[in-house]
């Protein structure tokens, strides 16, 4: 139950090895993918070149097919540390725009998911009528429905954070419903029989048995939910012609062929997701430890 705390000293080396391997492959791919363009440039300029020229130049293009890791790192550094947070060119600013929509959507999605799960578990009619729709909702590609949501809400005067948060909600409530329905139904017959011998009310059974029993399921669902909330917020920024947010950075980057900007936004989004998931993991181990889980 302590999987959330992945900070053991023994784990550092394997992780480091993987990182080094990825960076190595990335550099190799950079040279390989950027070579054709670089050769064209040499040909046009009619100059001689050596292999070491080629290697150095493929990693220093302004609009490479694949930017080198250090180019992305420099871009991230320049747009986070060296820019004021309030600047439109600051990645921190854009990340915050996306993060706020993510958190709002995650919170709404979790609450909606739990409420639906409670209704499904306690009411047979809800189980039969709502559950199929919950599953059907996830078969619609979010890329198709996101523009509709943005446009429709814009028509009724809602714009900015809320439409994006609603797309996050749309994605994130699903794992919570599924996980919590399972969790709330998980208590064994013997534990439910015990409550019956006390003539406990449904509310007492819920608060004293079902709810605490479902905590591990809730946190497992929330880990998935928070990651797809971020995806939802980014997707929500794509069709709006949005001017801010990581999604807007991605879109602007692709309009102008700014691959370095795209990759830095991508990596920032990935880092953000990792931080969010591990925060849920920390909350998970804290709560379960408070609930007497074996250390």
């Amino acid at each position: 139950m302590t999987a959330g705390a992945a900070t053991g000293g023994g784990k550092a080396i394997p992780i480091l090895v993987v990182v080094v391997a990825i960076v190595g492959i990335w550099y190799a791919a950079t040279i390989w993918l950027n070579t054709p363009w670089q050769r064209d440039v040499y040909q046009r300029e009619g100059r001689d070149w050596t292999v070491s020229d080629l290697v150095a130049d493929t990693m220093a293009q302004e609009r490479p097919v694949l930017p080198a890791p250090h180019q992305v790192a420099i871009e991230i550094w320049q747009t986070t540390v060296e820019k004021k947070v309030t600047s439109k060119r600051s990645l921190v600013y854009h990340a915050w725009i996306t993060l706020s929509a993510t958190l709002a959507g995650f919170a709404m999605g979790t609450v909606l998911g739990v409420v639906l799960a409670v209704a499904i578990v306690h009411n047979r009619a809800t189980d039969r009528s709502v559950m199929p729709w919950v599953i059907a909702s996830q078969t619609i590609p979010i890329l198709a429905i996101a523009p509709m949501i943005i446009v429709v809400l814009n028509a009724v005067g809602l714009s900015g954070l809320l439409p994006k948060a609603l797309i996050s909600t749309y994605l994130s409530f699903f794992p919570v419903v599924v996980g919590m329905v399972k969790g709330l139904r998980a208590p064994e017959a013997i534990q439910r029989d015990l409550m019956r011998t006390y003539s406990a009310t449904a509310a007492q059974v819920f608060w004293k048995l079902r709810w605490p029993h479902s905590m591990p399921y809730l946190f497992a669902s929330m880990k998935v939910a928070v990651a797809i909330s971020l995806v939802g917020a980014i997707v929500g920024e794509l069709p709006t012609g949005a001017v801010s947010g990581l999604g807007a950075r991605l879109l602007a980057g692709s309009y102008y062929g700014q691959t370095v900007q795209i990759w830095s936004a991508l990596l920032t989004a990935a880092a953000l997701a990792a931080v969010l998931v591990s925060l849920v993991g920390v909350a998970n181990s804290y709560v379960l430890r408070r609930m007497g889980a074996r250390p």
Binding site: E188, I190, Q191, D193, L194, M195, R196, T197, Y198, S199, A200, Q204, K208, L209, P212, H213, M215, M291, G292, A293, R294
Partner: protein, 268 residues
């Protein structure tokens, strides 16, 4: 259903009780024509091979299963009413402690549900934990206790709200012989001190004979009572009473009863 006060001092009265489960493989006759009376202060054991309906009978008394025929009263009222009156404490085969609650909070669970005040909860939890010799373990979580201690905590939980009747379904079945002997001795002391009426399901002949004032022998297919044996042992019972001729004679009769039930099955 009768609602009048029980005749004499009988606490549980079953009259021609029947229970048939409808399963995919056809009906299963779990209880057939079970009639018996349990008096106040009795320690009654139900013994028989698996499938004889002894656990089902206990669950019917606890209103966890509904009989399909016959009449049953608990404290003179229907089992459902008795359950709503919180007339009994139930001890399951497994301790069924809630793992996220400390021992004290597990024992206090029925008290919380039944709306006792905090002060009263604390007082009763301390008293019942003392009764099962678990004082000092209040703030431990269940996994920190041995199986025998967990089962003692679950007995404390059943005793906490002072129901007159204790229904115990093979509570020591999963424990080793030495722990079981020890808990049997403690259970007898507890019974002597609290004057409860206890219905106790077991498949161990020595356990049934050692604990009970009456032994109900049951046999399977259909689940039914084949013999009811009144114990001639004194209420005060040291562990070594199990080597006396009287004890062995009762054990012999129980064994005969169980064998008779089996031969009936073979004849079918």
């Amino acid at each position: 259903m009768e609602t009048a006060a029980p005749r004499g001092e009988s606490v549980i009265r079953a009259d021609r009780l029947d229970l048939t489960f409808q399963t995919g493989d056809g009906p299963v006759h779990a209880l057939s024509d079970v009639s018996l009376t349990i008096d106040k202060g009795d320690f009654v054991s139900f013994i028989g091979p698996s499938g004889c309906g002894k656990t089902t009978l206990l669950r019917v008394i606890a209103d966890l299963e509904q009989p399909t025929g016959g009449a049953l009263t608990v404290n003179g009222v229907s089992p459902e009413q008795a359950r709503l009156n919180r007339a009994y404490g139930y001890v399951f085969q497994a301790a069924a402690l809630y793992p996220w609650r400390t021992i004290a909070r597990n024992v206090g669970l029925p008290l919380e549900i039944m709306g006792y005040s905090r002060a009263e909860q604390r007082e009763r939890v301390a008293r019942t934990l003392d009764l099962v010799n678990l004082t000092g373990f209040e703030n431990k979580f269940p996994w920190q206790l041995s199986g025998g201690m967990q089962q003692r905590a679950s007995i404390a939980r059943a005793l906490a709200f002072d129901a007159d009747i204790l229904l115990m379904d093979e509570p020591f079945g999963a424990l080793d012989e030495i722990v079981r002997d020890h808990l049997n001795e403690q259970l007898l002391q507890l019974w002597a001190r609290t004057d409860k009426t206890i219905a106790f399901v077991t498949h161990s002949i020595p356990e049934a004979v050692y604990l009970s004032t009456r032994i109900v022998v049951m046999s399977p297919r259909p689940g039914r009572v084949t013999d009811i044996i009144e114990s001639t042992l004194p209420r005060e019972r040291p562990l070594d009473i199990r080597e006396t001729p009287e004890f062995l004679e009762i054990a012999h009769r129980v064994r005969e009863g169980l064998r008779a039930g089996h031969s009936y099955e073979d004849a079918e």
